[in-house]
């Protein structure tokens, strides 16, 4: 253990790692601060730049962008009522009213402190629980992995949008696209239509960039010219110790809510922020001020959404199952660097895991420093007009996508995926289950067919082990619960319409 830690420290403590992590946090804050750019898009656009970096450096760069992006989303939410990321939507409720009162600086500082605290708590949870879960997962064979991935897919597809069918349809698209290439067992062609570039399957980065960046760009051209929102000013007031102490309970509660919800695949930052906010409102003596510029509301929302950051990495590192779409991208980065997250990673590359943990801890400190020093600069970034932003993003997409594969074919795939992504956007089919299913698809099929090879074609193998029973039952339960939730939602809407009439 000590020897591994020592090797991991040597692996981590290089100038490149420390510098790229810093750059990642900085880039993440900038991306998050730009309205219209999400942390997912930031991580997706950074991914090609990590291709030629060592694995630890590349992954730390992405983690930095992720963490910076989630915090950065709160900046335009507070200043111009436009959340930079979906997770920051809750911060608008009290952040913007406080900014209107001329206390934007106070709101931004509270968002920063609570984000850093929650992020730190989340990182601790990650370090403590990941190893434990991974050691349990070492007992898993192909049938158990199949059941686990199936469960993850149902929950992710179910919570990705307000319509279960659309989420599952998106997941089916992703699974189908993942089957293109040579067959895993027989090596025969599957849907490649004589195109040799497709023999290894459809590449991850063109799909990722095409799906998450291009549809937004196309959609931007269909929008009317926006009058650019300007913010009044930051003000000079910071957060006092008394105010921090008053909000501390909500920050701690929000951090734990974030950790718990982040560790469950598919939940994500936004529901966690809203739950943390509603709990703070329910228990606060200043409940009446919530929604009118209450500092505790900002603290609770930001703690809730940043508490998720480290925890979403728990299922990723321990089981190889991404907790949300950003961790799905990070999973792709692991794979690009020849690493497979999950129990095997702990068994074979424990020093890399420890080095990543060290970097993750440092990222919380960087977030505090970068956020504190750069608040006024990031506030200016939310002024970047979209008319320049989207063409710049397009060029970044093209360079990044080409750089990874060095082939024009990848660019064609990216543009086609952009077109498909745009249709999905118009038909309200969520892109996140598509991407997650695309990444998990080969693992799911592989474990499915390996299991059947072991049992010589008998499906009993999926019911022989209690672990399989647990995950398959959970998968069925999650589908039933999501169906029930959708039916209830429809009934509530019908009732509301009747009352309105």
């Amino acid at each position: 253990m000590i020897e591994n830690l020592s090797i991991a420290f040597q692996l981590f403590a290089t100038f490149d790692n420390v510098a790229f992590l810093f750059v990642g946090v900085l880039v993440g804050c900038i991306v998050g601060a730009i309205p219209g750019m999400t942390a997912t898009m930031g991580v997706a656009l950074t991914l090609p730049f990590t291709f030629y970096l060592p694995p630890v450096t590349g992954i730390l760069l992405l983690i930095g962008v992720y963490k910076g992006g989630i915090y950065g989303g709160s900046i335009p939410a507070i200043l111009i009522k436009t959340p930079g990321t979906p997770a920051a939507a809750c911060t608008v409720l009290d952040g913007f009213p406080l900014a209107q009162k001329g206390q934007a600086n106070k709101a931004l500082h509270m968002a920063l402190y609570s984000s850093c605290f929650a992020d730190f708590v989340s990182n601790i949870a990650l370090i403590f629980f990941t190893g434990f879960i991974a050691s349990f997962a070492l007992k898993f064979g192909p049938p158990e992995f199949f059941a686990l991935i199936l469960f993850s897919l149902t929950i992710i597809a179910g919570v990705a949008g307000d319509n279960l069918a659309r989420g599952l349809i998106a997941a089916c698209f992703g699974l189908l696209l993942a089957t293109v290439g040579l067959d895993l067992i027989y090596g025969t062609e599957r849907m490649i239509f004589g195109e040799t570039e497709l023999m290894g399957g459809v590449k991850f980065i063109p799909v990722l960039i095409g799906l998450f960046a291009l549809p937004e760009i196309i959609d931007h051209f269909t929008r009317k010219l926006e009058t650019h929102k300007k913010f009044a000013g930051l003000g000079d007031e910071g957060v006092t110790m008394a105010e921090w102490k008053r909000c501390f309970k909500s920050v701690v509660r929000g951090s734990f809510i974030g950790v718990i919800m982040g560790a469950i695949p598919g939940i994500g930052g936004a529901p966690s922020a809203f739950l943390s906010y509603s709990e703070a409102k329910r228990t606060s003596p200043n409940a009446d001020n919530f929604g009118k510029g209450e500092l505790e509301g900002i603290a609770a929302a930001e703690a809730g959404n940043n508490g998720v950051c480290g925890a979403t990495m728990i299922p990723l590192l321990a089981l190889g199952v991404p907790g949300d779409v950003i961790t799905a991208v990070i999973l792709g980065a692991f794979m690009i660097h020849g690493l497979q997250p999950g129990p095997i990673l702990f068994e074979q590359n424990i020093t890399i895991v420890y080095a990543i943990f060290m970097g993750i801890m440092l990222s919380s400190m960087y977030l505090l420093v970068v956020g504190k020093v750069g608040i006024r600069f990031f506030a200016r970034i939310s002024d970047v007009p979209n008319s320049f932003l989207y063409p710049i993003v397009l060029v970044l997409c093209v360079f990044g996508c080409y750089a990874v594969g060095n082939t024009m074919f990848d660019l064609m795939v990216m543009f086609l995926m952009g077109l498909i992504g745009y249709f999905m956007l118009k038909f309200n089919v969520p892109a996140a289950p598509f991407l997650i299913a695309f990444i998990l698809g080969p693992l799911l099929e592989d474990s499915f067919r390996q299991s059947l090879q072991l049992s010589r074609g008998s499906f009993d193998i999926f019911l022989r082990n209690p672990i399989c029973w647990v995950f398959l039952s959970l998968a069925i339960l999650s589908v039933v619960m999501i169906i029930r939730r959708n039916i209830k939602l429809k009934k509530d809407k019908g009732l509301a319409a009747m009352i309105l009439e």
Binding site: Y52, A165, I169, M191, F221, I392, L452, G457, A496
Partner: protein, 170 residues
């Protein structure tokens, strides 16, 4: 309003047709199944067929529920959402035209990369797309259009050692 009312049904119909085309045409043509395979579940097309059949079921469900709900009146919430979207977007016909122009420009950009190389094609693309966004501040536009592609070109060439296509300038 038509699209909002029938979007479920349209999506369902597309899925049903697509799934049937997959089952009847694409899978038999493009998935090679070795004759030596004795176990159905291990066949290379088994997994694909499962996914496509699930898609067909969801497509049929969406088509049915979409046609059923299209007869009902749109909820207040949905009407408010449509009105909000209308304030953000151009008229439907103009939106479609703009989206088509954007997609055509993407593919022209792709062809230009092959012909003029990554840098010059990107310079032209930035200018065209910025103009399409309605921006007319040339003093910002031109430096951005020049510096960004050249900077990225040198980053990938010098830092990552990845040569970018130079087209006719090679």
């Amino acid at each position: 309003m038509f699209f909002a009312r029938f979007s479920d049904a349209i999506l369902g119909a597309i899925l049903c047709i697509g799934s049937l085309v997959m089952i009847l045409v694409i899978i038999p043509i493009s998935v090679q199944v070795p004759k030596s395979n004795k176990v159905l579940a291990l066949s290379p097309d088994f997994w694909i067929k499962i996914i496509v059949w699930i898609s067909l079921v969801f497509g049929a469900y969406l088509l049915y529920s979409g046609l059923k709900s299209a007869k009902e009146q749109l909820s207040e919430e949905k009407i408010a959402d449509i009105k909000h979207q209308k304030t953000l977007h151009h008229s439907p016909s103009r939106s479609v035209t703009m989206a088509v122009i954007a997609v055509i420009n993407f593919f022209v950009y792709y062809l230009l990369i092959d012909w003029l190389g990554m840098v010059l094609a990107s310079v032209i693309a930035v200018i065209v797309f910025v103009l399409m966004c309605g921006e007319r501040r040339y003093k910002i536009m031109l430096p951005v259009a020049m510096i960004l592609p050249v900077g990225l070109y040198y980053f990938f060439l010098k830092v990552a050692s990845i040569p970018m296509p130079l087209g006719i300038f090679y």
